[in-house]
Assembly symmetry: C2
Homo-oligomer: 241 residues x 2
């Protein structure tokens, strides 16, 4: 254990944290993963004790190779979720001088997209909880603003990059995909035009699962064509609204 006051510098240094906004989709609406701040182990986490906050924590100056690694490590520690560093998308720095009452703390904010249906079992329910975006409580520090910024960044990104793969289960239906887009963009699309567009991109593969499609009301099942999907991510596209 480190002794108090062991680390000295010629000039004042800020603390640096990585915070993560983890979005999940349950087939109906967009959710976000929050943790409850406790006065458990570290004395430094007592600020805003008991309040809800984004998962995240301090950069380990000596061990964390990059900030993305900090985000990954802290998410695992605080919520049980294991994501790879690549899945964290950095979207901004929050550096306001008063944002943490204890000392100067700069946070590098990230967002990540996960298949809620698959990861729900892995999230440590004692510490973490999924909240509907519409029912998020007020958060510690400036995490309200960070969350708002993350959502508007996701909203922007989705116009130019497909995001379904990260959020939907492997097999899904077109109405599900459309609902996902509508949840994120907060708009409504015409059913048939949306279907045409998605099919036109060539990122969907029909799934034959034995069940002979009974009626027109049972939606056709799809999976993503990973190859075309990634190509489209690289090239970018434009989804109107």
């Amino acid at each position: 254990m480190a002794k108090k006051g062991q680390y000295t510098y010629e000039y004042p240094h800020p603390a640096v944290t990585a915070d993560s906004v983890v979005f999940g989709y349950d087939g109906k609406e967009l959710k976000v993963l929050l943790i409850k701040r406790g006065a458990e182990k570290e004395a430094s986490t007592t600020a805003y004790a008991g309040e809800w906050a984004l998962p995240g924590g301090f950069l380990d100056v000596e061990k964390d190779k990059t900030i993305a690694y900090t985000a990954k490590r802290e998410l695992k520690e605080e919520t049980g979720l294991r994501l790879s560093e690549k899945e964290f998308k950095e979207f901004g720095t929050f550096s306001d001088i008063k944002r943490d009452p204890r000392e100067r703390v700069i946070t590098i904010a990230h967002y990540a997209l996960v298949k809620l249906t698959e990861v729900q079992a892995d999230t440590d329910a004692d510490k973490a909880e999924w909240f509907s975006l519409k029912e998020v409580p007020s958060l510690a520090f400036d995490h309200d603003k960070i969350l708002r910024d993350a959502f508007s960044r996701l909203k922007q990104d989705i116009h130019f990059q497909p995001v379904g793969f990260e959020l939907l289960p492997e097999i899904f239906t077109l109405p599900q995909l459309q609902n996902l887009y509508e949840s994120i963009l907060e708009v409504k699309f015409d059913r048939r035009n949306f279907a045409n567009k998605m099919k036109h991109y060539g990122i969907l593969s029909e799934v034959e699962d034995g069940t002979p499609r009974h009626g027109t009301r049972t939606p056709i099942k799809y999976r993503f064509d990973k190859e075309n999907y990634d190509r489209l991510k690289g090239n970018g596209f434009r989804l109107e609204f």
Copy 2:
């Protein structure tokens, strides 16, 4: 002057800097502003002494309200250029554990666009110099990578937001505007289609400067319609390529 070893912390803290990639356009090609690192005042700047680098410097933990302010302050100190905080666009954090040989330094990277023709006089030529993007020397730290990332970010942003206003002189011609876009995107557009598109956006106002247009070869002069320009920035648009 601060005494040595005055600032102590329970856990190690990183240093935090703000670095800026300042792009300018001289009517022909895109340029970037670099500084020559010297062993002048601060002992801490001796790393990579004599090499070219991006302007930037350490966050003043006690005085700088935000990282953007650090960027603004350091740019002024190092190059003489005065920009407002809003003109700095943050595009990423560089946090590799080995990126600075002295200690752990996290940098928040920004880019800015300026009218080269107007600011050239303000840049302190003793310390700073404008380089063509094609002739940039190899840079200190990981600044090569930061510069590459800034350029590709600018390239992305220009697809969805007009950028001419920030880079061109107040009065300019359509060929100039097209050349700017072509310089950034590294592609060629069809002259007439480009003109049609720009006119269609409604952000151009023809300038009557007495000179009765001699021949068709003297390009028509324009200025930006600031109101429509800003509206377009807000809404976003899509420039194909």
